[in-house]
């Protein structure tokens, strides 16, 4: 390629990156400034791009109601419970598919499990509601959403863990057998540490999905249990939407996943780049 051509490509690339940055960062910027505006300022016909007066008390007023804080706790319980269940089931199933594909039902079963993830959730929304309503724990409980989200997270966890296990050399397990470890001990000593980075990235994906889920939560829970995703839209005053409080709360709710990602990004990158675990 000529030097001029290379420069053109660079300029186009930079333009694309710039556009991409604007598209991703603008909503965050808008959320941030809106969170500190007064209710009146958020409803101007001509929007302001910087708060005229910073209303830091918006953050405090979100937590003036204890139920709002409880919503974060409910979301946390559901997301964490679901992540643990997805990890345990996905790790066991993924190991079975990776090491004993024939006995575990083969590629077809593995793919069927994954295909459940591709289902449009709306299609099963109402049947699921009646199904869970018939359960002893009902729909309005932590357990109902923990179990329900398995429909989405377990296939993901199973499939990804299968890939990670396939990538962990079987010979290392065999070496452990010859060292005198039973299959279970060999799994814990050798195989699990090898897939740990993968497990952490799977855990993050599951957790973030369950944390953010709105559609099912909106229909299933709301009295005993309220996740923050269904609480945010209730911030209204009469017919007026309290954009500033909604943005303040959503900004707070964003912190845990962002913090998680920053803390674990090392594993995330290692986990998703697979082959790195090889010796």
């Amino acid at each position: 390629m000529s030097e001029q051509g290379a420069r053109l490509v660079r300029i186009l690339l930079l333009m694309f990156l710039g556009l991409w940055l604007i598209l991703t960062l603008f909503p965050l910027y808008w959320q941030f400034i809106t969170a500190f505006k007064s209710a009146a300022e958020t409803n101007r016909t001509i929007p302001t791009f910087w708060p005229e007066v910073w209303h830091f008390e918006n953050l405090a007023s979100v937590f003036a109601e204890k139920s709002n804080f409880n919503a974060l706790v409910d979301s946390f319980i559901i997301a964490t419970g679901n992540t643990l269940a997805s990890l345990v089931l996905g790790t066991l199933a993924g190991y079975a598919f990776a090491r004993f594909p024939r006995q575990a039902g083969g590629e077809n079963l593995a793919f069927w499990i994954l295909s459940n993830r591709m289902f449009p959730p709306v299609a099963v929304l109402v049947p699921m509601f009646f199904l869970f309503d018939a359960m002893p724990w009902g729909t309005d409980s932590h357990l109902s959403l923990i179990i329900l989200y398995l429909v989405f997270n377990m296939p993901l966890a199973t499939w990804l863990m299968m890939v990670f296990f396939r990538d962990a050399p079987r010979e290392l397990e065999e070496a452990a057998y010859l060292d005198g470890y039973t299959p279970l001990r060999a799994f814990v000593k050798v195989t699990l540490p090898l897939v740990l980075p993968g497990m952490i990235s799977v855990a993050m994906l599951c957790w973030i999905f369950a944390w953010n889920e709105y559609l099912f939560a909106n229909l299933f829970v709301g009295t005993q249990v309220r996740t923050f995703t269904i609480v945010i839209p209730t911030f209204t005053h009469g017919s007026q939407t309290l954009w500033n409080l909604q943005m303040a709360f959503s900004m707070i709710a964003m912190l845990p996943p962002v913090a998680l990602f920053i803390l674990l990004r090392r594993y995330m990158v290692r986990g998703l780049s697979l082959g790195v675990v090889k010796g």
């Binding site: 290392l172 070496a175 000593k189 010796g279």
Partner: protein, 368 residues
């Protein structure tokens, strides 16, 4: 006490890989299995280790039948061709692994690992990860992991095949000097014949289905039972020439088709081969038994044939010359002092008393 006995071992998937293999390795014996890649050497080790299940047959160590035992209950240690070191553990923990499996106490583990590390000269590496050390050091670590376990049978799968020549030689000597390996039954697998000849108390040449010949290195090299064995041992490989035996009475000779290549069969060998008169045979001549004569040089007791040089490789300690002799390509080992040019006429002296005769169909050595 701890000899290893294998009887009638069979293993196959779509086709038989190991077919009714019998083998006994005595306590203290270093037995080397040599054979081409993909012939089933590793499968044999995996069967003994319990990583594969035999279709039939029996494996015993001492008085104990281990055929049905899972690998973690077998008194066997194995090094893998890939070393199979645990990448997330230090060299120390890698070596300590078999002891941790037995839940030995920490002080005893430390002492045992240090002892093995000292023996293998890897004390300085104990805190490193496998990813940080060289191939030779990985091999030593893998060996350390098997030594520390004090098994009754050692299985070594191509332990030094993937290392550079220099380290390979150094580690080969290490295998000679390791007392531990000389106290129990050791089965060592390689595709490199020189390793086999150098290390084996006895060696077994593995061909399709099982062991073709078992014996001391010297015996297998000097008296190969089949052409396959002869072709597999020795570098450069033995010259194999399709020919037939002709002649009358005690006056037998070999001739290769319509080419000009041939030589008389003398003395006792003629008597031994008289039954094979007119038979089609494969003549095996080792390159070191073909001498390239210098101008005017004589070779009494040799059969001299004329030819010209096709390829000459100078390899430092010796040279390899491929010559065309009456339409037949012959490889000869030469001394390195003389270089040869392509097309140059040469006189080749065959040591006819060192020639092997193999049945052209079965490959059996006709002189055994």
């Amino acid at each position: 006490m701890a000899r290893m006995q294998i009887e009638g071992l069979c293993k196959g998937w779509d086709f038989p890989v190991i077919d009714r293999l019998d083998l006994t390795v005595e306590e203290g014996e270093f037995f080397v299995i040599v054979g081409p890649s993909g012939i089933g050497k590793t499968t044999l080790l995996r069967l003994i280790a319990g990583l594969e299940t035999a279709n039939a047959g029996r494996i015993a160590i001492g008085d104990q039948d281990i055929t049905a035992l899972p690998p973690y209950k077998r008194p066997v240690a194995m090094t893998f061709e890939s070393y199979a070191l645990y990448p997330h553990l230090s060299v120390f923990e890698n070596i300590a692994s078999p002891l941790r499996a037995r839940r030995m106490d920490t002080a005893a583990i430390r002492a045992a690992v240090n002892e093995v590390a000292e023996l293998l000269r890897i004390e300085a590496l104990l805190d490193s990860r496998p990813g940080e050390i060289s191939g030779g050091q990985k091999q030593r670590t893998a060996l350390g992991r098997t030594l520390v376990a004090k098994p009754r049978v050692f299985l070594l799968d191509e332990p030094i095949s993937h290392l550079d020549a220099k380290i390979r030689h150094e580690l080969r000597q290490q295998f000679h000097s390791l007392e531990e390996l000389r106290r129990v039954a050791t089965l060592y697998v390689t595709h490199d014949y020189s390793e086999a000849l150098s290390l084996g108390d006895r060696i077994g040449v593995m061909g399709r289905g099982g062991l073709v010949q078992v014996g001391s290195a010297r015996e297998v090299f000097m008296r190969p039972r089949t052409l396959f064995v002869a072709e597999h041992l020795g570098q450069p490989a033995i010259n194999a020439v399709a020919a037939h035996i002709g002649g009358e009475g005690a006056d037998l000779h070999v001739r290769a088709g319509n080419s000009g290549f041939g030589f008389p069969i003398g003395g006792t060998r003629a008597a031994a081969l008289s039954g094979a008169r007119h038979a089609r045979v494969t003549v095996g001549i080792r390159p070191q038994h073909i001498k390239v004569l210098r101008n005017g040089e004589d070779a009494p007791g040799h059969h001299v044939i004329e030819g010209h040089v096709e390829i000459y490789e100078a390899l430092g300690a010796n040279g390899v010359l491929v010559a065309d002799a009456g339409g037949i390509s012959l490889t000869a080992l030469t001394s390195p002092e003389h270089a040869f040019a392509h097309g140059q006429p040469v006189r080749l002296a065959l040591r006819t008393d060192a020639v092997f005769y193999f049945d052209s169909e079965t490959g059996d050595n006709l002189l055994l």
